[in-house]
Amino acid sequence: MVASVKKRRLGRPVSIVGAGMSHFGAFRGKTSRDLFVEAFQDLMDNLDQGIDVEDIECGYVGNYSSELFEGQGHTAPIIADWVGMTPAPVTRIENACASSGSALREGVMAIASGMYDVVLVGGVEKMTGLPTEGVTDVLATAADVLYEVPAGLTFPGIFGALAKAHMDRYETNLDHLLKVGIKNHNNGALNPKAQFNVTIRQIMERRQARAEQRGETVPDWKDELDFLNDPASNPWIAWPLRLFDCAPITDGASCLLLVSADIARNFTEKPVQIAGMGQASGRPLHDAEELTSLSAAKHAAAQAYQMAGITPQDVQVAEVHDCFTIAEIIATEDLGFFEPGEGPRAVDEGRTALTGDRPINTSGGLKSKGHPVGASGVAQVIEVFHQLRGEADARQLSNPNLEVGLTHNVGGTGGTCVVTILRRG
């Protein structure tokens, strides 16, 4: 943990009163604007008390790279037009995979400043228009293109190097990584909007059934770990990371309606407050303080805990940035949920499962829910919003006293991290 940070506070309290999300997946023919409209309609349909779009005063949209993915720049005004917000000011925020975490932060500050009362924040990414190699290239531009990319490092490659360092330093092994994926798929199977709303066991059993149907040799995997340890079903991407250690390539959008807390009850009886916020920058892996941690996450977390006046032990539910399985383990250590090196054991003991004492990524995480990079930060907040309001359906945590949740949204390989703490009421 970072020792001390300056105490900061919002100029006035800000509440989340509504949330909307598109389905996450691969949608041929759908562009960013279509995806965002789907999320926006979901928000409007599910607002407890409706709102006229003309009453939304301003917007911030997280988007990483519509230029490279879709050949479309200047995305924000198009989205504003498509949802009916023109001529309201709408600004695109780019911080790689933390784009919408940062967009949320900008929206909160816009209200806290006193300038606006009602603000839309969200994120969107259309990724599946490119082949995997093309997506790999686009994602690599979030790393240092002068010194990391020429060294052959890809986005999974940098997290692979982090994983190797973690395995060298602690007792982390490949099975720990796979168990994170199994856990997140178990949660995502309960999320109808998830790209892969299916457990790893179901994926395994479907493949066995298909082989049997085709009269092929049926693989005799005895459980999920056995299936995931088979290089035929789970090929290497960037050793020690395999396919099922990586979040998928996803199309999707997410949005939230933020309002000044003093008018929150005009919109819903169950607002969720922004209790704390932190954002920090970090350096490339080769210039990082440690090879087993993301310093930006520690700084952002310290800021958010300070603002909220809580400690890591007070967090009851968290969505963390599992772009790769190792990233979830490191996140739970950087956030102070577990001591450095203790993250893997917590996974082994089931502590981060839906039924554990420290549930992580109840939505399925980026791994199972999907990772449309610019939309992920706000999508994380949407899950915690639903958990705190008791409306997470089959994923709803059994704890009847859920009050405090946290999201951890990483940009690139740790160049940015945004941590947001939410409190019911």
């Binding site: 020429p150 060294a151 490659g157 190097a161 190797k164 290497w236 210039d287």
Partner: protein, 137 residues
């Protein structure tokens, strides 16, 4: 000190590399070393940085073997059946840098050990697109 004034940037870094030298910076105010040249000292923010030649000897701190490759590496023949190794090298002078690791069997990463001594690889350097690479000492 460098023989001639060169800007503290990536173009100069790769020009030096073509000439067979691994050149970073040293801060004249706080003596901080950085393998990546930059005009401001990353430790104390001083503008008084000077070129510093690194020995090219170091230790492999962490690595990965990449099977899903960027387009440019695919064009060089790397891919699912022919992964390559990249990682982070800690130079004997202290700073770290990202680099390719040549002379190892990237298809069997379990046989590659972190902590091994590595040296700057200058043979077969692509003069058009030089890549920082090391190989086991």
């Amino acid at each position: 000190m460098a023989d001639e004034p060169r800007e503290f940037n990536a173009a100069s870094f790769y020009t030096y590399l073509r000439e067979g030298r691994l050149m970073g910076i040293r801060c004249r105010d706080c003596a901080h070393l950085s393998a990546v040249p930059r005009p401001l000292c990353p430790a104390c923010h001083s503008r008084k940085v000077e070129w510093h030649q690194f020995s090219g000897k170091g230790q492999l701190s962490t690595f990965t073997c990449i099977s899903i490759v960027p387009v440019a590496m695919g064009e060089q023949g790397y891919g699912r059946d022919n992964p390559y190794c990249s990682g982070v090298v800690t130079l004997e002078e202290g700073p770290r840098i990202s680099a390719r690791l040549l002379g190892v069997d990237a298809s069997n990463p379990q046989n590659i050990q972190t902590g091994i001594a590595v040296v700057l690889e200058l043979e077969n350097l692509d003069q058009d697109q030089p890549t920082l690479a090391f190989h086991p000492a």
